[in-house]
């Protein structure tokens, strides 16, 4: 069939470039390995190096070409390509094409490979003895990554190596529309997930993937060290790179937290979700490696542990990509990326990057310098090493829980081997946040104290001299006293009760004070070498912020306790219903009013006015927020709710996070059409004591009386015969009821009625007529209909996060400290740019 309007050439060229990228990365691996192995022979190794550089260059050009072509077909909206159809649409604003590019797995692999190429060129540009072994490692990794995009099918069915981003839509999906040669005229893209249509999706993935890519460099240097048996010299460049990696990966992770906090509706910045943990753990390990590398500079201790940590950090990055992309986290993580079917390739990748260093290590073990004498416990090295162990410990704990689905799969696979069935069904802890916090809290305490004490110790000291002893006692003593005298009043004021939190805040403040002391007393304000204390101060402030914003986080939108169930989870009563124009009192003395709303493009904004008055009625505080929702427009002025975006009001000492979900979000837009058409009266003929059903409710006709309705539509006139029916309206399976009192009256021998609007349930009741059938039976007719008409309301959530700014300030300081350390190692100091 000759299809009209398809542009096949970008896909053909693009796919060929992917194959070229794969082949050239293998060639680069082979050539650079040859160069490394023949490094003693200058002539031979030069030849190898030339081949290696050319291969890497061809590989780089291929990768850039693939990326360029993929962007091109996305910008041009060539929906004949599945990737374009799946991630873009006609109405997608141009700035989101980037987000759409890396929304899919193929795109994010390309982003990752792009950064590897860039970093590879930085290493290459130094033209030093490390280029060959390091770039050989790059070649291997790029070969694995490009194999994820090969899209080579074999066999009869769907078996394939990699997933080709240039695959055609009609080759992937079977649909009747492809029987038409001009199918392209009727196809539109499905668009970018609305949750990803914001600037975060434009900046967080590139930063995070640069962070992932940067962990490859210390890893490659470690392999280089083992391979060339230069067990000390590799550490210096690797250390500088590890500081870069810590800063960038840390910033990427931080952006993820900020994104969740600012734009997502779960109300927080960290959920200990498996995907979050999987990027945090490599970062912790990288920092452990940084610390042992600093120790190893001065003494042969810790060379082995530095090897271990830098190798482990990248291996864990590959593990994290396995967790994220293989679908194994399906039931345990909210980051549900669609699977690509590449589990086996990812497992092979993990295997290769673990086994190669292991083999090299075993071969080189005897030659790695190691000193028999133990490190003195008075030395800085000892305590830094302990600190690295604490970070390792933390990573082991986090990874154990995060990997629960993997344990399940492994156990099931093992039992399948021996002929059994599924043997384990472990589920994660019911409160994952509390679970991790419980253990990581102690990690935080330890790191606070260790980073405080060890910064005042000295390298290579075997014992403490009298004068140094005095110095230590004075400085540590004062720091301790100051910490206690700041922590106690602070925690008393906060009314946080748990002593563990006091300890964590105390240790955070301790490290802030000791590191400030270090800057002042020891390095005398020399900013050039202040990277470490700045980073430690950042950590301390982060701990303080985490405790305050976590322990004191509370909803101010609680209007009433849930009447369904009231004791299992008190934090759940955070939603309150606010009808437009009617202020509702909530907690902390505030009232909230939904004053107006407006639309901008596919978003609807709601203005919430929060007012706090004193007992006399004077306004103490007033602010407005405008949370919004993203919606799709449907015919007949209906909308389909897609996502809710919060709006947070920032103060110096706290944030107030607000979220609003409109009433129509809870209705099924399809169903409301039918309901609107069926919004007519439903009749029931009953007598007192009878029960009838109406959708979702049952109604008991209790009795009749003569009370008059409080309704302006009715004015009593002489001669009126009033009859009020008292109906008890229950929800199905409930014991509580509402009263409806439809009213019938006889005036001038005619029956007239006033309907009763039961707004809490959205029902109208009408007492239509009395049907006298016989003397002792009095049947009456009641009509019921739904009145869920245009009642505009929003369900509001408002949370207070005290002290959350310290989280951001502390984290950013940590990243700045890491960068300062990196520049210090590089010998260039751009202090004018740092604005300390």
């Amino acid at each position: 069939m000759n299809y009209e309007g398809e542009h096949l050439w970008p896909g053909i060229i693009g796919h060929s470039l992917i194959v070229l990228a794969f082949v050239s990365s293998l060639l680069a691996l082979w050539a650079y390995a040859g160069a490394t192995n023949s490094r003693k022979d200058l002539v031979a190794s030069n030849d190898w190096m030339r081949i290696g550089r050319w291969s890497f260059g061809i590989h780089a050009v291929s990768i850039f070409g693939v990326i360029g072509l993929l962007f091109y077909i996305m910008i041009a909206r060539y929906y004949e390509y599945e990737y374009v159809w799946g991630h873009t649409s006609d109405s997608l604003p141009f700035q989101y094409i980037f987000s759409a590019f890396w929304e899919g797995q193929e795109g994010s692999f390309l982003l990752w490979m792009f950064w590897h190429v860039v970093l590879g060129f930085v290493v290459l540009s130094r033209k030093d003895k490390w280029e060959a072994p390091v770039l050989a490692v790059f070649g291997l990794v790029q070969a694995f990554l490009s194999s994820m995009l090969l899209g080579l099918y074999f066999g009869e069915g769907d078996d394939r190596i990699g997933s080709n981003p240039f695959v055609l839509l009609r080759n992937v999906h079977e649909a009747p529309i492809f029987n038409m040669p001009n199918y392209l005229q009727s196809i539109e893209g499905t668009g970018l997930n609305p949750l990803l249509q914001n600037y975060w999706m434009t900046i967080h993935p590139p930063t995070l993937f640069l962070g992932f890519a940067s962990t490859l460099v210390p890893f490659a240097f470690a392999i280089a060290g083992l391979w060339t048996k230069e067990h000390k010299a590799w550490i210096k460049p690797a250390l500088t790179w590890s500081l870069f990696s810590g800063a960038i990966l840390g910033t990427g992770i931080l952006m993820g937290g900020a994104w969740a906090y600012e734009a997502l509706s779960f109300g927080g910045y960290w959920a200990w979700d498996p995907v979050e943990n999987a990027s945090l753990v490599p970062w912790l390990i990288m920092l452990a490696g940084t610390h042992t590398a600093l120790v190893a500079r001065n003494s042969p201790h810790s060379i082995r542990s530095t090897y271990l940590f830098f190798i482990l950090s990248f291996v864990l990055i590959v593990y994290s990509t396995f967790l994220t992309r293989s679908g194994v986290l399906g039931e345990t993580s909210v980051h549900a990326f669609t699977e690509m079917g590449l589990e086996w390739q990812l497992i092979l990748f993990m295997g290769a990057v673990s086994i190669w260093p292991l083999v090299l290590y075993v071969k080189a073990k005897k030659e790695i310098p190691n000193i028999e004498k133990e490190e003195s416990s008075y030395s800085r090295e000892f305590w830094m090493f302990v600190g690295a162990l604490v970070l390792l410990f933390s990573s082991v704990l986090i990874t154990a829980t995060t990997s629960i689905p993997v344990w399940n799969k492994l156990a099931d696979a093992f039992s399948a081997l021996v002929g059994g069935g599924d043997i384990t069904n472990i589920a994660p802890p019911e409160d994952e946040v509390a679970h991790h916090n419980r253990y990581q809290l102690w990690i935080g305490v330890l790191i606070g104290f260790l980073s405080g004490i060890s910064v005042l110790l000295r390298y290579r000291s075997r014992e403490i001299s009298a004068s140094f002893g005095r110095f230590l006692s004075v400085h540590l003593g004062i720091a301790l006293i100051l910490s206690i005298s700041i922590t106690i009043p602070l925690m008393l004021w906060s009314s946080i009760v748990a002593w563990q939190y006091w300890l964590l805040v105390g240790s955070g403040i301790f490290t802030v004070i000791t590191n400030l002391d270090y800057i002042i007393s020891v390095i005398r304000g020399n900013i050039k070498v202040a990277g470490a204390p700045v980073a430690h101060i950042g950590f301390g402030l982060l701990m303080v912020g985490v405790v305050f914003s976590g322990a004191l986080k509370r909803p101010i939108s609680e209007g009433f306790t849930s009447i369904e169930v009231n004791d299992i989870n008190p934090q759940s009563n955070k939603n309150v219903l606010v009808v437009k124009g009617q202020p509702v009192p909530i907690a902390d003395g505030y009232t909230v009013e939904y004053s107006r709303d407006w639309a901008e493009g596919n978003q609807q904004f709601f203005e919430l006015k929060f007012t706090k008055k004193d007992p006399q009625g004077n306004i103490i505080e007033e602010f407005s927020t405008s949370p919004n929702v993203i919606r799709d427009s449907l015919p007949k002025n209906k909308f389909k709710f897609r996502a809710a975006n919060p709006n947070t009001r920032h103060y110096f000492a706290k944030d107030i996070f607000t979220l609003a979900i409109p009433h129509w979000a809870f209705e099924d837009p399809e169903a409301s059409k039918e309901e609107a058409e069926a919004a007519k009266w439903e009749s029931h003929i009953i007598e007192p004591g009878d029960t009838f059903f109406t959708p979702g409710h049952y109604v008991v006709f209790d009795q009749i009386g003569t009370e008059l309705p409080q309704n302006e539509a009715y004015q009593f006139q002489e001669g009126d015969i009033p009859i009020t029916a008292i109906l008890k309206v229950y929800e199905l399976n409930s014991d509580s009821f509402y009263l409806a009192k439809p009213f019938l009256y006889i005036r001038d021998n005619r029956p007239l009625n006033i309907p009763f609007e039961l707004n809490e349930l959205g029902l109208d009741f009408r007492f239509s007529q009395i049907l006298p059938e016989s003397e002792d039976q009095m049947k009456m007719q009641f009509d019921v209909r739904s009145n869920k008409a245009e009642k505009a309301y929003v369900v509001v959530q408002a949370l207070v996060f005290p002290g959350i700014n310290w989280v951001w300030i502390g984290s950013i300081m940590m990243m700045i400290g890491l960068l300062m350390g990196m520049f210090q190692r590089m010998g260039k100091i751009k202090s004018q740019n740092l604005e300390i």
Binding site: S186, L397, N425, I426, A427, H435, S562, E564, N733, G762
Partner: protein, 135 residues
């Protein structure tokens, strides 16, 4: 140094085991009914029909909604979830609940949904030949 290493490893194993005591196992409604005094995690699917509607009345209670779920053994129970109804709840393919039985209902204070990624395929299947208004 060796002693220190052994102590550290022993401590690590000890803490790991303690941490693992928090782990749960996935159960079903029958397990939840037997042990009504602790929380369970139950995997299942949404069941909706006239007798088993999804009910969310924020006017009455903005913090709870109810629905019916079938667990992997086929038991169907009414679930009261302590949260506002999440978007696209009706489209969920799988639900993981955390909570416990209260009477004959399951009260869930935490819930995770798995929503289908197959919107796209459905969109294609229902595409008919039509003139697209020029852009």
């Amino acid at each position: 140094m060796q002693i220190l290493a052994l102590v550290v490893i022993a401590a690590a194993i000890g803490v790991l085991i303690t941490q693992a005591s928090d782990y749960q196992s996935y159960g079903d409604f029958s397990v939840a009914m037997e042990e009504m005094d602790r929380n369970h995690q139950i995997v299942g699917q949404l069941v909706v029909d006239d007798a088993r509607p999804i009910v969310y009345n924020p006017e009455k209670d903005a913090n709870a909604f109810s629905f019916y779920m079938e667990d992997e053994q086929g038991t169907i129970k009414k679930v009261v979830a302590q949260m506002a109804k999440p978007q696209d709840f009706e489209r969920s393919e799988q639900i993981v609940l955390t909570g416990r039985m209260q009477g004959s209902d399951f009260i869930a204070h935490d819930m995770q949904l798995k929503c289908p990624s197959k919107y796209q395929d459905q969109a294609l299947q229902s595409q008919k030949a039509r003139q697209v208004v020029s852009k």
